[in-house]
């Protein structure tokens, strides 16, 4: 495909080049804004020994959780790993390595990875198990620890709309980690609900510029809801 057209037409093509023992950065918060079909493709490929960087690890039968039964994930870097029985079993048995990382630090590590910042200081985690082995330093009388950037061989991202050049727009809280993941992958693959022509998105309203994006594919999504909380219509 010539020039800046990043649209691919199959999931095989979308995840081409993914190999055992690679690191994948994933967008999504819980089951919200996850690249459902890219995850399915990773399951289909059967790639093993993966390091996943993702705020959560899905549930037993949806999201990144589907990669657990075949033990495709060797290590996960995440902030919250509840809601997943198989996950807990593999973690407790030592089959799965888990690096718990505070949510804000995780987001900032992805951003730093994409932005060429190798490390930054943060107060988050000072004096806790997260600080173990990390440099501590005082600035203006407060304590901070040094955290390092994360980058991945791949990033898997879910956006709402993309143009063919890979400019992305996200929808509501499905944005979450996705724009950060998009910056931190050597190969960034984006799954979207709608692909439009370049020029159709307002340049002032693009959340992720196409420079970060390598491949775009249009998918259909289940969008499973984790906690269906409602109020009665007559409030």
């Amino acid at each position: 495909m010539a020039g800046f057209d990043k649209v691919v037409s199959s999931y095989e093509e979308a995840m081409a080049g993914l190999e055992d023992n690679m690191t994948i950065i994933s967008g999504g918060f819980g089951l919200c804004g996850i690249a459902e079909n890219l995850i399915t493709e990773i399951k289909r490929k059967g790639t093993k020994g993966l390091t996943m960087v993702s705020n959560n690890c899905g549930v037993d039968d949806f999201g990144l959780g589907v990669l657990l039964p075949n033990r495709q994930i060797k290590k996960i870097i995440a902030s919250y790993v509840g809601e997943n029985a198989e996950f807990e079993r593999q973690m407790m048995s030592g089959e799965l390595e888990v690096e718990l990382t505070p949510q804000g630090t995780l987001a900032e590590k992805m951003r730093a990875g994409g932005a060429g910042i190798p490390a930054f200081f943060t107060a988050t985690g000072y004096g806790t198990p997260v600080a173990e082995g990390k440099e501590e330093r005082e600035f203006n009388g407060r304590h901070y620890i040094l955290e390092q950037a994360i980058t991945g061989d791949f990033a898997i991202v879910k956006a709402w709309k993309a143009d063919r050049y890979g400019n992305l727009v996200f929808r509501k809280t499905a944005r979450n980690f996705n724009p950060l993941a998009a910056t931190a992958g050597k190969i960034t693959v984006v799954e979207v609900e709608e692909i439009v022509e370049p020029g159709e998105l307002d340049p002032d309203q693009i959340h992720t510029p196409g420079i970060y994006v390598n491949r775009v594919i249009q998918g259909t999504f289940e969008k499973r809801i984790e906690q269906r909380t409602i109020r009665s219509s007559a409030k």
Binding site: C32, P102, K172, T173, K223, Q227, T229, I230
Partner: protein
């Protein structure tokens, strides 16, 4: 009588001020939103990337793309804004949130808090809690004063892995409202009908009791 969950939320709500940006943790803190005093406006920050969280949606309004940090479906309040997770924690870490309310397993006289892990039993992760306690100046921890078996959770020193060090100044339990300073819990208020002796008995950490300890008013 020990406070109910609803009363805990009500008491926290009394600390709200007009124009406050507030982050409410999962559980009891979430209930605070139901008791915002008349004439006061607050805006709720949800760390998954939403400022201006509204009430739960109706069946018709449900949107899988719009959830809060507890992964519950929500709506947006008027004047809400959406942003990515790095921006969300920039707000939190940068001290822009006026009040943070969250739960805990233990707190201690040094302002330490343990809330995310019970070794060998529970490893769900810290989520955004470590960022929240490190970033906020104004935090209220809501928790039960002691376990069902009467073991105090207000300790001389936390026994569980810490979520944050030296960052907690205010604790609201089902029995009392306390301030942490100078290496002790200072009793500010007691739950209606709860005696100072009972609080004393269930507080393992050093407790300072002023001459006058008013009952909470609801």
């Amino acid at each position: 009588m020990a406070l109910t969950r609803e009363q805990l939320a009500q008491r926290v709500a009394q600390e709200l001020q007009d124009g406050y940006y507030v982050n409410l943790g999962i559980g009891i803190p979430t209930l605070v939103a139901n008791y915002v005093p008349e004439g006061i406006e607050v805006m709720l920050q949800s760390e998954n990337g939403l400022l201006g969280m509204g009430q739960f949606p109706t069946e018709e309004e449900i949107d899988a793309d719009l959830i809060n940090a507890g992964k519950q479906t929500v709506t947006m309040a008027t004047g809400a804004s959406i942003f990515d997770s790095a921006e969300s924690f920039a707000m939190i870490r940068g001290g822009h949130v006026d009040l943070t309310v969250l739960g805990a397993f233990e707190v201690d006289v040094s302002g330490n808090i343990a809330s995310y892990m019970i070794p060998g039993k529970l490893i769900k992760g810290m989520g955004g809690a470590m960022d929240l306690v490190a970033g906020a100046d104004n935090i209220i921890v809501t928790m039960t004063h002691a376990s069902k078996h009467g073991v105090s959770k207000l300790l001389p020193s936390c026994t569980l892995p810490l979520t944050g060090k030296g960052c907690i100044k205010k604790v609201l339990t089902d029995l009392a409202f306390l301030e942490i300073k100078d290496g002790a819990f200072h009793l500010l208020e007691r739950a209606p009908g709860v005696s100072i002796d009972e609080i004393k008995h269930l507080t393992a950490g050093k407790l300072v009791i002023p001459d006058d300890v008013p009952e909470m008013i609801f």
